[in-house]
């Protein structure tokens, strides 16, 4: 081994903020190489992924629309990960939120009333929370890994959505396509900035960031979650309830994911279809890490990754690249993030083999 890792006395404050930047730069370099390998012009990566999407007012608005679900889910996941609660099933919780909230919207039909949207929002949060309550129960009562249970439930949720959209909730006037009716006026998320698609969900995401940051940084609850994640026995010693905290972490993540789901279907999408999310629940995991598991960081991370979604769409349209390019970009970004994280905790020391000196 030509180098050795030496633990730092305390976390390096410089690298805490620099490591995500380093990871992003590294990812861009790799993407450029990938684009070149696929015969696209060299600067194309940088332009497509970073510049083009935000080169117009509409672009920036779209950034907000794409970032909203990522941030909403990401802040919830980040707090959970801090507590060592690995909610991998956010995608499924998002779907359940879409089903629950969307179901209320469909039931409201063409009615308009101030109660419809709040009911949908509440329904979305409860739906997502319910779906996360299952892994919470299984973990606290039966010690079952929440990674596997929440993930299995994602597949179940997806199948449930397909069933509803192809079966009982199918739009009778939809020409047989697997989709529900469009939501009525009263059940559609209001647009906040006219001329764009920026909807209530974007505001909700910002509120969620503020609330989660408050919990994380200032409250006893946030402290309890962090202690649980770093040293579960110390948490027990302090009298913190590991079970209660696990429930909270999962329900929070689930509720926020459910909110993201209902905002998506009642906002930009406008109906229930089999694909209500291009993998937001999974991308939010990357967002959480990009944000170093800190709610403010998650906000920034969400914007960066929203950029990557827009960039991916641009790449498809302008350069004819397949949709999968987004997944690769995100996976590589996460790799570099995790690798760069090293520098926060350790110093790299070159080791030279010095022969021991001394009396022969």
């Amino acid at each position: 081994m030509p180098f050795r890792l030496e633990a730092r006395g305390r976390h390096s404050p410089i690298w805490t903020w620099a490591s995500p930047v380093l990871a992003i730069v590294a990812t861009l370099i790799v993407s450029t190489a990938l684009f070149a390998a696929m015969g696209k012009p060299a600067g194309a990566a940088l332009y497509t992924f970073v510049v083009a999407p935000i080169s117009s007012m509409n672009g920036i608005a779209e950034l907000g629309v794409k970032a909203a679900p990522l941030v909403l889910i990401g802040v919830g996941l980040a707090i959970g990960f801090r507590a060592n609660v690995w909610n991998i099933g956010a995608e499924g919780q998002l779907i359940l939120g879409a089903i629950a909230g969307g179901g209320i919207g469909l039931w409201a039909g063409d009615a308009t009333g101030f109660w419809i949207l709040p009911a949908m929002i509440l329904g979305g949060a409860l739906g997502g929370a319910f779906w996360a309550a299952i892994p919470a129960l299984l973990k606290t009562r039966f010690n079952a890994s929440e990674i596997l249970t929440s993930l299995m439930l994602t597949y179940v949720a997806q199948l449930l959505l397909i069933y509803l959209v192809v079966g009982p909730w199918k739009d009778p006037e939809g020409y047989g396509f697997p989709q529900t009716r469009l939501f009525g006026e009263g059940a559609t998320m209001p647009i906040l900035i006219s001329g764009t698609r920026v909807h209530l969900g974007v505001l909700a995401a910002l509120i969620a960031v503020a609330v989660c940051w408050l919990i994380y940084a200032k409250t006893l609850l946030g402290f309890q979650l962090r202690v649980l994640g770093q040293a579960p026995r110390a948490a027990a010693y302090a009298g913190f309830s590991g079970e209660g905290l696990t429930w909270f972490a999962l329900l929070l993540g689930g509720a926020l994911a459910g909110l993201a789901g209902v905002f998506e279907v009642a906002g930009p999408i406008g109906q229930l279809t089999p694909a209500v999310s291009p993998g937001y629940g999974f991308t939010a995991i990357i967002v959480a890490f990009l944000g170093r598991l800190n709610p403010i960081g998650v906000l920034l991370g969400g914007i960066v990754l929203a950029l990557s979604y827009l960039g991916g769409e641009q790449a498809q349209i302008a350069l004819g690249l397949p949709k999968a390019i987004t997944g690769i970009y995100q996976g590589v970004l996460l790799f570099f993030l995790l690798g760069a994280d090293l520098l926060v905790h350790y110093r790299i020391r070159l080791v030279r083999r010095v022969p021991a000196r001394g009396a022969a």
């Binding site: 006395g9 305390r10 200032k218 006893l220 402290f223 026995r233 302090a238 009298g239 021991a356 001394g358």
Partner: protein
């Protein structure tokens, strides 16, 4: 002087030492662990390496065993210069090592554990018969098919020793071997070691236990802060002189007021038929534990690791609920079913065995660590929000009051040395003015200066009227500090006895579980 030949006569002194270290130095980022150390061990010699925690003994020994490489210096084996690249190379030379924290694999059998310590295939042939022979020869009984997790600590050490013996070592290194043995087991170990030395195997015996070294070893090298400060024949020195060489100053024994009268002092902690099933895979169930500690009293609970101390600590702190509320009573209020935070509010404090990950969170600041146990008792949280100002002030108070060497309340716990972190944890509990304080292994792995001040702090707390319980594997420490002493063995507690009315030998028998304690008597025997 006769030349050394493999089977040296007992005590033969050749011109050529078996092992000679010259000018060995090793640096780590935060410290200089070894600084120009030279020492020589003759064949068949029992040589002590003496020094307090942090003096550099473990580092030096890891260098000899090939786990670490020196930055400077030379090693000679039987006169020829060698470079010990790794433990396999050390074993090939004939060096065996019995580790302080045993390197045994709990999920594997005894035979498998031993096979892992043997270098080559040849040695692994006919292993079970060879294990049987060696354990028979040296009186170290072992069942090759037993899973190590089931073995007692003394038996695990036997696995380590047999593993070394099968290699026919010329030099056997023992790193703090007796901290986990009963006095009787220690004697058996010494018999084995003396026999090995008589057969020509040199022993490098690392310890800070002065009486043992004086009893066993013929030469001693004393380290302090990484340097050799003395070399002597320990049999010719007093324990006090050796201690002073080790520490560099004279030490005062802790000062403890005699309590007025045990009869009139109110009982502050009463444990009554406490029985708890262990939730650990190979834990020990607590069985009808009963004792009482009065105001101003220090009760010592002695015992070898693995006899229920962890479970007892967890039951007393509230991390595990007791079998009924009245099983644990603090200041006449039953707390058996309450959690740690509620028990703290009723005046209890706890210092668990492990600093890292249990008593403190190493990646958090000292301020946050102060919050860990004091958030309610010191009013550091209001309306769910943490009052960071008060928290940091409290942490600063602890740092000042207990001489914790650190970079201040914002320093991370991991940047503190073991002794300083322990001072912080003990100080944190004491500054919450508990009426009852339970500490486990208060000075484990802690340098002598911090150990002395921690013990004094505990005694001062008792003198102010608190009831203090000290659970420790260090019998000397308990005999020095406690008013009464009880022994925990196999989850049962012996009736507490006054410290000046009991002998180490009696305690040793109890620690070995020889005498079954009677559970009915729960009153402390008055002095």
């Amino acid at each position: 002087m006769t030349q050394n030949n493999g089977n040296g006569a007992p005590g033969a002194r050749g011109d050529t030492p078996l092992l000679a270290l010259q000018g060995i130095s090793k640096r780590f980022p935060m410290t200089i662990a070894n600084d120009g150390i030279s020492l020589a061990i003759q064949p068949g010699e029992i040589h002590a390496l003496l020094g307090e925690n942090g003096a550099g003994k473990s580092t030096l020994v890891k260098i000899i065993y090939g786990v670490l490489h020196p930055d400077e210096g030379a090693i000679r084996w039987k006169g020829a210069p060698v470079s010990i690249a790794n433990p396999a190379a050390a074993r090939a030379l004939g060096i065996g090592m019995v580790f302080q924290h045993f390197s045994v694999f709990e999920a594997l059998t005894v035979a498998e554990n031993i096979a892992l310590g043997l270098n080559d295939k040849q040695q692994r042939k006919g292993l079970r018969d060879r294990i049987a022979k060696v354990s028979e020869d040296y009186g170290l009984r072992l069942d090759p098919d037993a899973t190590v997790h089931h073995l007692s600590v003394g038996e695990r050490q036997r696995v380590e020793i047999v593993r070394c013996l099968l290699q026919n070592p010329k030099l056997l290194i023992m790193d703090e071997p007796t901290s986990v043995l009963t006095p009787q087991e220690i004697e058996r170990l010494f018999t084995t070691l003396r026999r090995l030395a008589a057969e020509g195997c040199a022993i490098l015996y690392i310890s800070h236990k002065l009486e043992e070294i004086r009893s066993l070893c013929e030469r001693a090298t004393i380290l302090r802060q990484g340097k050799v400060v003395a070399e002597c024949d320990p049999r010719q020195e007093t324990a006090k002189h050796l201690a002073e060489l080790m520490i560099g100053t004279t030490i005062r024994p802790p000062y403890h007021l005699q309590e007025e009268s045990a009869e009139t002092a109110p009982a502050r902690l009463e444990v009554d038929h406490l029985s708890v099933k262990s939730d650990r895979a190979f834990g020990v169930d607590l069985n009808q534990i009963s004792f009482t500690v009065s105001a101003g009293e220090v009760l010592g609970i002695a015992g070898i690791a693995g006899n229920g101390q962890t479970e007892l600590m967890a039951a007393l702190s509230g991390e595990t609920p007791a079998n009924r509320a009245e099983a644990i009573i603090i200041d006449s209020r039953p707390v058996g079913l309450l959690g740690p935070a509620e028990r703290r509010q009723r005046g209890a404090g706890f210092v668990p065995e492990e600093r890292h990950g249990h008593g403190a969170v190493k990646d958090m600041t000292l301020g946050e660590n102060a919050l860990l146990s004091a958030y309610r008792t010191k009013g550091l949280v209001r309306g769910g929000l943490i009052d960071m100002g008060s928290t940091m002030r409290f942490a600063a108070e602890i740092i000042k009051g207990f001489a914790v060497r650190s970079d201040g309340p914002a320093a991370e716990a991991r940047s503190l040395s073991g002794g300083n972190l322990q001072r912080f944890i003990v100080g944190r509990e004491i500054l919450q003015s508990p009426g009852v304080l339970v500490v486990a292994q208060p000075t484990w792995g802690v340098d002598a200066g911090a150990a002395a001040s921690i013990r004094q702090a505990l005694l001062d707390l008792a003198d102010k009227g608190a009831a203090v319980v000290v659970i420790s594997q260090d019998l000397d420490e308990l005999m020095e500090m406690a008013d009464h002493i009880a022994v925990i063995a196999n989850g049962r507690l012996s009736p507490p006895r006054a410290v000046d009315q009991v002998t180490v030998a009696e305690l040793g028998l109890l620690m070995g579980g020889i005498e079954a304690p009677s559970p009915e008597r729960r009153d402390a025997v008055p002095a």
